[in-house]
């Protein structure tokens, strides 16, 4: 009898190719059914696509660390493209100190403060779209977050067009050195320059959320330099993700008209309708971790320093965890989905994302009689984010 561990199932899949992005679901299923851990030959990394293993990796930060990068690059061997994030790309204890500041700025208490203003803005925007043919992405999924988030952060008006390209760049950078990443890097300079400048205290309005992060530096919780990087986290992760989340919800409600009618009948379901869209579409598709020691995972032994690719989107449709996984059901109990991650790195902006999604869907439920697809949707390609570039809709 051999003492070797059984050979891992292998896959030749390129999960960062546009062919895969066009229809990832059959490939997700193959990965899940191949085994709890699969070796991806193309990039020489381990992959997990079942809910149980994804959840385990997300919740064991000591073994599956983030400080060596949450993309394909290993920061212990390669130089990151920018100074690493103080929350996303760190481990405890450094992580916890920075996270605490962001968590307080984005707390349930802050949401109470923001709710009425966000709801009124959503009402006004949606009321103006009823009876029209619109692009659900530009006219609503982008328009709404861009109308409320930068103002609340306290950003200058000029230059906001850099926000979405900067986020697209950051999320492409987690992927391999492919055409998407290279093209994003080639166009990066002006976006990076603007965002870097806007994170400075003097460029943020004193009554915004960005200023509250800088105030934490006055209290000695973080250094002034760290405060700048934490504001950068808000700008990187706070907009494009929410745009794709709202876009996902519109795409779901248009494809499942009975679910939109259920939402109209009970607009209070808006929050869960948004959450379920995040589960089903998973705007953030993947993240990596790096092993800090040799570890057993799903019967396989991973060496120290192994990159592990987590297919969050596949975990969110794993039939081992979810009933009717491919169906959009606004009444589903969604707790436990990993669309916002899980564990200590779980999206620190999840409450503001949910608030934005909720108020938009509630406004739609109150104003629109139906949402119909009015033309072919066009996919937007990114190494990490899943979403549409265009979604022609008829709002009745």
């Amino acid at each position: 009898m051999s003492l070797d561990t059984p050979a891992l199932p292998r896959s030749g899949l390129d999960p960062f190719s546009t062919d895969f992005f066009d229809d990832p679901y059959p490939e997700h299923e193959k990965l899940r059914e191949a085994g709890p851990v699969v070796w991806l030959e193309r990039y020489g990394v381990h992959a997990v696509a079942r809910h149980a293993e994804v959840h385990r990796v997300l919740n064991d930060w000591a073994t599956f660390c983030s400080s060596r990068g949450v993309g394909l690059q290993d920061f212990s061997r390669e130089t990151p493209w920018r100074q690493p994030s103080l929350v996303l790309e760190t481990d405890p204890p450094e992580h916890d100190r920075a996270r605490k500041v962001l968590a307080r700025v984005l707390s349930p208490l802050t949401m109470r403060e923001l709710r009425d203003g966000f709801a009124a803005a959503a009402e006004a925007l949606v009321a103006g779209l009823v009876g029209r043919e619109i692009d659900g992405i530009a006219d609503l999924a982008q328009a709404f977050p861009l109308s409320v988030f930068p103002d609340r952060i306290g950003l200058a008006r000029q230059g906001r067009e850099h926000l979405l390209p900067y986020a697209g760049l950051a999320f492409n950078a987690f992927g391999p050195d492919n055409a998407l990443r290279r093209e994003a890097m080639a166009r990066a300079a002006p976006h990076v320059a603007w965002v870097t400048e806007q994170c400075r205290r003097g460029n943020l309005s004193p009554d915004g959320l960005g200023a509250r992060i800088h105030a934490a530096a006055d209290a000695g919780e973080v250094t002034p330099e760290e405060a700048v990087l934490l504001v950068r986290s808000l700008l990187t992760a706070g907009i494009d993700t929410t745009v794709n989340g709202i876009g996902a919800a519109l795409y779901c409600l248009a494809r499942f008209p009975n679910q939109f009618q259920a939402l109209r009948a009970d607009p209070k379901q808006a929050r869960n309708a948004f959450e379920e869209a995040v589960r089903l579409e998973s705007p953030v598709q993947t993240f990596f971790r790096t092993t800090t020691r040799a570890v057993e995972l799903g019967g396989a032994i991973l060496p120290e320093g192994a990159k592990v690719l987590m297919f969050l989107a596949s975990a969110n449709r794993d039939p081992r965890r979810w009933d009717r996984p491919d169906e959009y059901d606004i009444a589903r109990r969604t707790s436990g989905h990993v669309g916002f991650g899980s564990g200590i790195h779980m999206c620190v902006g999840q409450l503001i994302a949910r608030l934005e999604g909720e108020v938009v869907l509630e406004a739609l439920a109150r104003h629109a009689a139906a949402i119909e697809i009015a033309g072919p949707p066009v996919r937007s390609y990114n190494n990490t984010l899943r979403g549409l570039a265009r979604l022609p809709l008829r709002i009745r």
Binding site: S335, Q350, L351, R354
Partner: protein, 106 residues
């Protein structure tokens, strides 16, 4: 082991729990109304607020660090027995625990 949930209207539901699982997770897995657990147990949301029955507060123990900040934002009244149910892990001493649910979580 077992957990009994008592809804705000007095309805009692007894469910099986596994050692090591949180009270929140057990409630969600068993479709118990009154616990949402929006953040999946990452201590971000305060939608798994519960009141530990007076007879069990000692066995359960006090709040974890950061819990009271979140409970300040809970939708229903906060009492001395308030806890986030995601922070209560099931163990032998808690077999049979009684958990009261608030009127609303959002």
């Amino acid at each position: 082991m077992k957990i009994t949930f008592v809804a705000a209207d007095g309805t009692r539901t007894q469910v099986q729990a596994r050692e090591g699982d949180s009270v929140m997770h057990t409630a969600v897995q068993n479709d118990v109304d009154g616990i949402i657990g929006e953040c999946g147990g990452s201590m971000m949301c305060a939608t798994c607020h519960c009141y530990v029955d007076d007879g069990w507060t000692e066995a359960v123990g006090g709040q974890e660090e950061g819990e009271s900040d979140l409970l300040d934002c809970a939708a229903s009244e906060v009492r001395p027995t308030s806890r986030l149910s995601c922070q209560i892990r099931m163990r032998a001493e808690l077999d049979g625990i009684v958990i009261h649910l608030p009127e609303s979580q959002l």
